[in-house]
């Protein structure tokens, strides 16, 4: 077994409804999906977010798109129009979740998230100040 950050294996997107955030994580294939179903439990996600999430965490399996959907109650400091947080809509919580480390079998130990290639952006940005 190897420890990997969920980020190496999965995509993510977070959204808000009132004071509830949902975070979907997406596996690339069945092997990864099987691992995250086993490893990324609602309890682990609740512990990962600590004091940031005051309520319970529910998990839904969405096998048709190889995803898990986590619903985090009391996750947004009271909800968009009420919250004092800069990220009052919880847009960044997906990134926060995939920081979680999980145990993966050795067959997946070499999996890594592709590295961003922003050469195109650097060219544009450098051009702004030339």
């Amino acid at each position: 077994m190897t420890r990997l950050r969920l980020h190496e294996l999965c995509g993510y997107r977070a959204g808000d409804k009132g004071d509830i955030a949902n975070i979907a994580v997406f596996a690339d294939d069945d092997a990864v999906y099987e691992v995250i179903v086993r490893e990324v439990t609602a309890e682990r996600v609740k512990a990962h977010f600590g004091a940031m999430v005051t309520g319970g965490v529910l998990r839904y399996e969405v096998p048709n798109v190889l995803a898990l959907n986590f619903v985090l109650h009391g996750a947004l400091g009271g909800g968009g129009p009420r919250s004092l947080r800069a990220d009052s809509l919880g847009k960044t919580l997906g990134g926060a979740l995939v920081r979680l480390e999980i145990e993966v079998p050795d067959s997946l130990a070499d999996r890594r998230a592709p590295k961003p290639d922003v050469g195109w952006a650097r060219t544009i940005v450098d051009g702004l100040t030339d």
């Binding site: 997107r13 949902n22 600590g50 009271g78």
Partner: protein, 458 residues
């Protein structure tokens, strides 16, 4: 086959996105403009409080100006919930825009009846109105109510289309229902044909957040999305049997793939086996997605169950006034200095006798967004950030106090650890009112008799 497009994903989105959709050779039969979020209703409520003629999204005339010439040419129709909490005023604005453009004879329909404010006491007398998430009883709701809107479904829009409306303006209609309505109207789907109603709802859900199903906010390989500065807004081609293909304007950048579509599928969704809409309970886990290549994803096998007897409704109340300020520090000891500055600021506020009901302290550059998910530094070598911004927000009972609190940060420029830059982000802005939300359920029988469609020609 009907082509519906998601031309807007939120209040403040860009009307320029309509150009690419309207330039499509195959055309777009319906442009659906989704303008409302929970936060948007709160913003519009503040607008209406200042001016009774407001309460709809102020960029509506810009959207109308961009799309109405195509409507007048018979190339498309517009459906939007930009009416917010004042659809009647929004329709007046849209009609004004049409007349300014010399476009006469267009039928503009207004859907009203989502606003529960006039009847809230009567509804509360016979309905629990308990908080949907916490089960708190309505007696806990802190009056006064600032707005109360029910999430209507697609039916009144279909009524409007049946009366030959060219433009349909609604208040709080559920996002996906804007897209379902033209499908029901054009394909003649029965309201109890639950699988098709669910399919149309799912299509609406995939289109309602504009660029988010076409490569926007994509988590992996986001850097590979073609020409992200020209991100397209999505189109669905929907057959009478409810088979749909999600795609995009060919000339634009962006991408539609299995991955971009599944990212949107679960956005703001709780139980994916029971996506509750006013028109149906849809099961998103039954659906089959097939990536056809060339920015086309086919959606089939959506299952639906009968709609519930209730509408979701959203009530809001004031919870005080917020202010915020930032102060930045550089290496060395940036985090420690920022922590000290936040503490000094809080003590100065206390010394000034200003009452703060709630504080929020975020250390940008350290763990502002991730909070407890960010591991603590384990050695002194990986410990120190190159810079740190303390963002401090507070809630007070009134705007005057919230404003005075912000002023206590200013002296820290010369009276804090070295060298605090209090000008970060233009410092403290004006205090803003915070609204608490109260999501609840209302029986449809309390709402439907008051839903009305009125049509006026430009």
């Amino acid at each position: 086959m009907i082509r519906v497009a998601g031309g807007q994903g939120f209040y403040g989105d860009t009307p320029k996105a309509l150009d690419a959709l309207l330039a499509e050779e195959e055309g777009v039969d319906y442009l659906c403009l989704e303008a409302l979020a929970e936060l948007t209703l709160a913003i519009l409520q503040k607008d209406r409080q200042k001016d009774e003629a407001r309460g709809y999204t102020r960029d509506l005339p810009a959207y109308m100006a961009a799309a109405l010439p195509a409507v007048a040419a018979g190339r498309t129709k517009i459906i939007t919930n930009a009416g917010g909490i004042n659809p009647t005023a929004a329709a007046r604005a849209a009609i004004g825009t049409a007349r300014d453009l010399g476009l006469h004879g267009l039928k503009v329909a207004t859907v009203t009846g989502d606003d529960l404010m006039p009847r809230l006491d009567a509804i509360a007398a016979t309905t629990p109105l308990a908080h949907l998430d916490t089960d708190a009883p309505y007696t806990d709701f802190p009056a006064p109510t600032l707005f109360a809107s029910a999430y209507l479904g697609a039916r009144p829009i279909v009524d409007a289309l049946a009366q030959d409306a060219d433009v349909v303006i609604t208040g709080r209609v559920a996002d996906a229902a804007l897209f379902l309505a033209p499908l029901v109207h054009e394909h003649g789907w029965a309201w109890d044909d639950w699988d098709r109603i669910a399919a149309g709802t799912l299509v609406g859900h995939l289109l309602e957040c504009s660029g988010q199903s076409a490569g926007g906010n994509l988590s992996r390989q986001w850097w590979d999305v073609p020409r992200p500065w020209d991100l397209p807004y999505p189109i669905a081609e929907v057959d009478a049997d409810s088979t749909a293909v999600i795609t995009k304007p060919k000339a634009s950048g962006g991408r539609v793939s299995f991955d971009t579509v599944r990212h949107q599928l679960l956005y703001e969704v709780h139980d994916p086996t029971a996506y509750l809409s006013p028109d149906v309970v849809a099961d998103f886990t039954s659906t089959h997605f097939e990536d056809l290549g060339d920015d086309r994803v086919r959606v089939t096998d959506v299952r639906g169950r009968p709609a519930t007897d209730t509408y979701k409704a959203l009530l809001a109340h004031s919870v005080g006034w917020a202010g915020e300020a930032r102060i930045a520090f550089s290496w060395p000891e940036a985090h420690e200095k920022a922590t000290a500055a936040a503490a000094i600021f809080a003590k100065r506020v206390e010394q000034a006798g200003l009452d703060v009901d709630e504080w929020c302290v975020e250390m940008w550059g350290v763990d502002a967004l991730g909070g407890p998910t960010v591991p603590n530094a384990t050695s002194e070598h990986d410990a120190e950030p190159p810079d740190c911004v303390a963002r401090i927000a507070w809630r007070c009972a009134d705007p005057l106090t919230a404003g005075l609190v912000g002023r206590e940060l200013v002296p820290l420029t010369l009276s804090a650890p070295p060298a605090g830059m209090t000008g970060m982000g233009r410092g403290a802005g004006r205090p803003t009112e915070l609204l608490g939300l109260w999501p609840t359920l209302v029986e449809k029988t309390h709402v439907d008799p008051h839903v009305a469609v009125t049509i006026e020609e430009t």
